[in-house]
Amino acid sequence: MTLSFFSEVAHHPTTLWVSVGQGCYTHQLIQESGRFSLALLRRGQEDLARRCGTVSGREADKCAPLALYRSADDFLYLAGALACVSCRVRSAHPAGDHTLFVADLLSGEFDTRASLHPHLLTTDLV
């Protein structure tokens, strides 16, 4: 899914948070597996963001058209993203219509050309 709400939590333990709508298929998958990967999109990937943000994984296989590959620790990473990180859920906190997952950052990769590309912002999709 395309996620707008995420950020850093702490440096020790090294954690981040993502906020996922409770009705989303991804929410169910994260709850079941306790792990997920996060791919940071850059400007120019608006179509990809829209595609993954408007269709539910229950209705279509959103992964099929994506250039995904497996990381060394067996997480799915997205080729062409600014960076990708592997996360393991540490705790979950209900937040209105969303759930806040606090997760450990296990490992990650970044594109050395990332500084040429700005982050894709939610406002870029409007």
């Binding site: 950020s7 090294t14 219509d97 050309r113 500084s115």
Partner: protein, 609 residues
């Protein structure tokens, strides 16, 4: 090319920059924090999340106050965001230090930062203790867009991250060119082949570079999240006299002569008089300084209606009596430092001036020394990180004679004479010390009854220390008189110099270039601390501060207002020096009483800083 992320910063999850602001009612202050990590947690109801570092004062303030604002920087606000990001972590009044415009929203009772894209006013719902940062979940009270930057993109965190550069545009241009041409990747590949892949334990490396355990945080927070020890600030700029003022310099000795010279230089609006006991010397000085007249007794000077103010350049033990007489005659008073030799005398002088409604100011040039003003600003800006040590090495060979050789009339020796100056410098640069340990080597000059060399160690409960080495016994050589060392750099202040030096911890371009030079022996030969030096010139005609001190006195008299350096400050200098003398006698640490500026003096001095 894709590389393993070694730290959380490689993961690029810090996206947009914002200034988080919260009202700190306990300290009548506004706490600020440059936040590169915030997000919306839910749409219905709208909630915002921030994650302040628990070492930062903003964490405690948000926990206490329960409200904050988040003002999003526009892309054009890079310089403002950088200033806030670099500002000293423990400094109070961050908006002033970072030069950010603050506004206060009455409706929500929350301060916010101007010049931003939009401001989100928030109320804390829940705080999760999640390690070395807190996770603050807040309800959105109002999102307000500011028209001045409408349509602009927000400032991305990557624009302000990394080592500060003196030439950011050039550096960015070169870096982007290297990336686009593939040169940087080729270099990386070559290095990887030669050195092997670096370890990529993301949590361990993140902790090593910027994480803290609970134990480490407790150790750091023992000294407080904020350093509130500094109560004095140097005045911003010398004042200007706007009407004629009649001043009589009392004392026709060497220092009285210097006072005459300063008043002459300070303003053409001064009607100068001289008062001394020695008729020949007084007449000569009056003639040489172009004075309008002279007096041979203080009573005569005080009785003359042309004399509106007196400048007391007298032996220390005479300050109190002369000041009380002047106050009784309703004359404004500039008194040489130290204000007196005893606290009771200083109190009597301040009380007499207060009762008579006249101005009393101590001639403390250090208060007006431009390098100290600029260094204080540099510390606030975060140029040296957290200041840890202040070192003073002052004095030089001096063989005092007359009253200066007599510790009763002098109030002591070198510690009293120049100690008050450097105690003031310490208070302006770091703050109020809590205890002192003074000690001394053998006496060299046995012709004086006071001390001819002393060293004093001052300590603050806020975690900094200061060492003053004051010495008339031997030469001091070519060295800065004040050194302030922090974790990110060190400042060197030179006596009488219209500049100061910063040696940042981050390597300067020449240092970096030389470090790559081979053979290594050549690099070592060419390497010099000078390459790390950033010399900052100060545009000020009065590098010592004497002229500014006199101008401020004249302007305060002219405007009928309290001076930027009120007498209570000088009394405090004396109190600290007397504590150092007590320590010297008792050969042990001595507690320095806590101090707070009188409210009226506080307000008056702040209006000038």
């Amino acid at each position: 090319m894709r590389l393993p992320a070694r730290t959380i910063w490689d993961a690029r999850i810090q996206v947009v920059c914002a200034a988080v602001s919260a009202r700190d009612r306990e300290h009548e202050d506004v706490e600020l924090w440059m936040c590169g990590n915030f997000g919306q947690a839910s749409l219905d109801p709208p909630r915002i999340i921030i994650n302040p570092n628990r070492l930062y004062p903003i964490d405690g303030v948000i926990r206490r106050e329960g409200r904050f604002a988040l003002s999003v920087f526009p892309a054009s606000g890079r310089e403002a965001a950088l200033r806030l990001a670099r500002v000293r972590r423990r400094t109070p009044e961050k908006a002033r230090a970072a030069g950010l415009p603050l506004h206060f929203d009455e409706k929500h009772g929350i301060p916010w930062v101007g010049g931003t894209l939009r401001t989100l006013f928030c109320e804390v719902e829940q705080i999760l203790d999640t390690g070395d940062h807190s996770l603050v979940i807040a309800r959105l009270l109002e999102a307000r867009e500011h028209s001045s930057h409408r349509g602009e993109r927000p400032l991305l965190y990557r624009e302000i991250s990394g080592t500060p550069s003196r030439y950011p545009r050039l550096e960015k241009l070169v870096r982007n060119a290297l990336i686009r041409t593939g040169a940087l990747d080729a270099l990386r590949k070559a290095l990887l082949r030669r050195r092997g892949a670096p370890a990529a334990d993301l949590p361990a490396l993140t902790y090593r570079e910027g994480g803290q355990t609970d134990q480490e945080m407790a150790q750091i927070l023992r000294y407080g999240a904020s350093d509130r020890s500094r109560l004095l600030r140097p005045p911003a700029a010398p004042a200007v006299l706007r009407r004629r003022v009649g001043v009589c310099v009392v004392g026709a000795g060497q220092w009285g002569s210097y006072h005459c010279q300063l008043f002459r230089q300070a303003s053409p609006q001064v009607d100068l008089f001289v008062c001394g006991r020695n008729p020949d010397r007084t007449a000569r000085l009056a003639h040489a300084s172009g004075a309008q007249g002279y007096f041979l007794a203080l009573d005569q000077a005080l009785a003359d209606p042309r004399v509106e103010a007196v400048s007391l350049a007298l032996p220390h033990h005479l300050h109190a009596q002369a000041a009380r007489q002047a106050a009784a005659a309703r004359k404004h008073i500039l008194v040489e430092k130290p204000i007196a030799t005893k606290l009771e005398d200083a109190d009597a002088m301040i009380a007499a001036a207060g009762q008579a409604g006249v101005l009393l100011m101590t001639a403390e040039d250090v208060h007006f020394r431009p390098a100290i003003r600029e260094a204080a600003l540099a510390i606030d800006r975060g140029d040296i990180g957290e200041p840890l040590y202040l070192n003073v090495h002052a004095g030089g060979v001096m063989r005092p004679e007359g009253w200066k050789a007599d510790k009763e009339r002098m109030g002591g020796g070198v510690l009293m004479d120049i100690g008050v100056h450097y105690v003031r410098a310490l208070r302006l640069l770091l703050g109020e010390p809590d205890r002192v340990l003074a000690t001394r080597a053998m006496q060299i000059n046995t012709k004086i009854s006071g001390d001819d060399s002393v060293q004093a160690l001052f300590a603050s409960r806020f975690g900094w220390q200061a060492h003053l080495l004051l010495n008339w016994a031997g030469p001091r050589g070519h060295a800065p008189d004040i050194v302030i060392a922090g974790d990110q750099g060190v400042l060197h202040l030179w006596p009488g110099a219209a500049y100061y030096d910063l040696y940042p911890a981050a390597p300067q371009p020449v240092t970096v270039a030389l470090s790559y030079l081979r053979p290594r022996r050549l690099a070592e030969r060419l390497m010099s601390p000078v390459w790390q030096r950033v010399r900052r010139r100060i545009a000020d005609e009065d590098p010592r501060g004497y002229l500014s001190e006199v101008r401020e006195f004249l302007a305060a008299v002219g405007e009928g207002r309290p001076p930027a350096s009120p007498p209570g400050d000088a009394r405090r200098d004396l109190e600290i020096v007397l504590c150092a003398y007590a320590s010297l006698r008792e050969e042990s640490w001595t507690a320095i009483p806590p101090w707070e500026r009188r409210r009226d003096e506080h307000d008056a001095a702040r209006s000038h800083s």
